[in-house]
């Protein structure tokens, strides 16, 4: 799988993501600076976590308007795969490629801890090696992960299987509506999620629950 990681100033989990993609997916990862206006030949675009532009405005708002985003939107419109994790999810929401908003955590504090995710949709490029209902341990690390969307859209997302991950076993860390941790677009080729599966792939991390997600990419 030809994979491209987008680099915005202030992102800081790109090395974690590259490590997971290379170790588990066996992907050859190229990096692209945010000022580029085109992408190299690629199957998957990944926007990793961090604090693009310091998140001094709404999280992801400035990155969503940077030159490289047009190329990413074109890539997605042609059916190309896009994965946004944490700040990457916030950026995808800010571009309108995914619906909803990520508000400040309900307790107003940054939270870094392990949660349990349930896989709600096992037919995406990131979950194909899993089965609906599977539960995996996965860490979160964010200040603004409280997912919100209007009622009508929520109904559609739920009905169309666009909820990809949900916080399970009472571990919702941020007050997200319907325990939503990750969603996809209607076509299923654009996925965004707040938790960090890239930090749960080898014994050093305590558990390796998120390896199948990266194995799905390789499949």
């Amino acid at each position: 799988m030809k994979t491209t990681i987008i680099q915005f100033p202030g992102l800081n989990r790109e090395s974690d993501m590259i490590m997971a993609l290379e170790k588990v997916s066996g992907a050859k990862v190229k990096t692209v600076w945010h000022t580029e206006t085109s992408l190299p030949d690629t199957d998957l675009v990944v926007i990793p976590g961090g604090f693009s532009y310091g998140d001094y405005l709404r999280c992801g708002a400035i990155a969503a308007r940077s030159p490289v985003m047009k190329a990413i939107i074109d890539h997605a419109n042609k059916g190309g795969k896009v994965l946004g994790v944490c700040n990457g999810f916030q950026i995808l929401v800010e571009t309108g490629m995914l619906r909803g908003a990520l508000m400040r955590n309900a307790n107003l504090k940054f939270v870094c801890k392990r949660v349990v995710l349930s896989v709600e949709n096992d037919s995406t490029f990131f979950t194909s090696k899993m089965t609906k209902g599977d539960k995996v341990a996965c860490p979160v690390a964010h200040h603004d992960g409280n997912y919100f969307v209007d009622k009508e859209t929520l109904k559609r997302l739920e009905g169309d299987g666009q909820i990809v991950f949900r916080y399970a076993d009472g571990t919702n860390p941020n007050g997200s509506l319907n325990d939503i941790a990750g969603i996809c677009n209607a076509k299923g080729n654009v996925i965004g999620m707040m938790p960090h599966p890239e930090n749960m792939i080898e014994p050093l991390h305590g558990k390796i629950d998120c390896r199948p997600l990266f194995e799905s990419i390789a499949a």
Partner: protein
Amino acid sequence: MIPNDIKITDEMVADHGLKPDEYQRILELIGREPSFTELGIFSAMWNEHCSYKSSKLWLKTLPTESECVLIGPGENAGAVDIGDNQAIIFKMESHNHPSFIEPYQGAATGVGGILRDVFTMGARPIGALNALFFGAPDYDKNRHLISGVVAGVGGYGNCFGVPTVGGSVNFHKRYEGNNLVNAMAIGLADADKIFLSPAKGVGRPVVYLGAKTGRDGIHGASMASAEFADDADEKRPTVQVGDPFTEKCLLEACLELMKTGAVIAIQDMGAAGLTCSAVEMGASGSLGIKLDLNKVPCREERMSPYEMMLSESQERMLMVLDPEKEAEAEAIFIKWGLDFAIVGETTDDLRFSIWHDDEEVANLPIKELGDEAPEYDRPWTVPPKQPELTDVPAPGDLTEAILQVVGSPDNCSKRWVWEQYDHLIQSNTAQIPGGDAAVVRIDGTNKAIATCADVTPRYVEADPMEGGKQAVAECWRNLTAVGADPLAITDNLNFGNPERPEIMGTFVHAIKGIGEACRALNFPVVSGNVSLYNETKGKGILPTPTIGGVGLLPNIDQMATLAFKTGGDAIILIGGHGTHMGQSSYLRDTQGREEGPPPPVDLTLEKKHGDFVRTMIRSDETTAVHDISDGGLVMALTDMALASNLGAKIQIPSDIDAHISLFAEDQARYVITCKPGKTSEFIRNAETAGVPATRIGTVTPSALNIEGHVTISLNMLKTAHEDWLPNYMAEA
């Protein structure tokens, strides 16, 4: 704007924190009255924070060398060799005064400053720690200070992208009005590519990099060198404002630039900003520096030379560059959206010459600015010894006493704090906060770094020398308990007003204790920071020499953790049952008494027991390891049980009172577990090594059972240990 050539009055001298005899020294040194900018420069260079004038004499007595030390004190941070041409660069520094005045920004910029110290030397930060000390729980400003400091530490480190992996939080009424924030950072560099501050070569460009200069933090270092009175809040403008996003960009730009070979010398702008960094680079390189302040990127209009020289705006660096690589260097900084300006050049006249609007506003001898700073042998007294305890009554209810100790403000879980810190970023965290030491893997290798920060201020207060030894010994023990070879320390010495002989006496004896422990454990000091005048309204803090240690795990597969692993494992006490109750958590938490001498530290035993435990960990003979410190044996067992959700059945000797063997804080002790079949072999090994080892019990599926005394459910222990801090912070 105050004119540069204004007549200097006695009042102005005093306002700059300079004593009359110090000002006399300035007059003798330069042979004329200083300009206003020059007075500011002297005040910045000669305050306690930058000059170490009260502490230098004693700091020189600390051991700073060993086979692993690459760079000792004097540079931006210390460096140790970890093999394979890799070095760990680390330092701890306080940001106490700013964090009281403005908790969020004070703490945030403390983190920013220490990260910059590390990456200035060419290292990528791979771990951060912090030791925080607040007033007693009933202090009315506590929640404001705690929530602000914790959010500030997290806000900066999380955005910058360094895992905050360890630290401590303590409470005591003596920190009211003067809380402490000690921040530590650890970075990884190639051992042969460490960047230093001495400038080299005449006529080379002096380059300003990073964020713009504003009016924030002017006189911050001087503020940090004075006591607080009631007007602390009025000092808010002396606190800097942090921008972790710019710092992250500065990190990436600096590391990218260093790869090009363009950097000849580099110094971050920390305390006393442009003044201190320029003088340091020139003086250490035996060169003069000429600066044109009209070239300095400013955030505000009409800044005077005085303001520019004393601003402590954050996220700034000064470099001497190879002129041939100027264009390449500038391109890197433009890419990262940072300022890049040639603001001066190196000269051969050993003068610090500052120009503004084509006028020379300062011309001072650069070496003397640092070298000729006053140095004091302040009078000190021998601290009195505490009388031995005569009575340590048993608790009415042992269960209640155990719950009080494991759930006291100092001993309770600090999860509420560290869950606000990203401790996982970079994907190399092998032990998260809550263990004896944090462990971070060295990317791409099987090696790992263990690190922790320790001090027991009440011990230091009761006996500065033993307390100093204990801080180093506990740090060494914590690194040992995860299986690491302890390498070196950074010390952050927080004390009160050194002009008071009893405070100076505490300082002197703590240093003696630290030095003795460092020598005995081959655990040298490679960097550090002194923070004096930690007093409000004439009342000093508890003496707090925080020790930050770094150790190396050659093979991360042989790392120990404190959680019990399997029911049936044997529980072994290393170092024997304790008897020492002076200054114990038990006395404080159950009887409200802070009395007696602290536990004595026998460094020979400490080394022998620790070396044995490490050998056993490396031979895969242990299944869990934990050191015994605050709260004694029962606290250690509780930590091990709660981390695993397993219980323990424990036998304690009948010839010692139960509360003594459970709560004594004797040093050089560990609790370990091993497979049941390996118990006798383990104890034989200990006997051969001359180390006391006693089987005291067995890991069980649930509950902590002290046979013949109490059984406490894990739930009760967990509630006591986990709930105190979140409940406290939730109260209005």
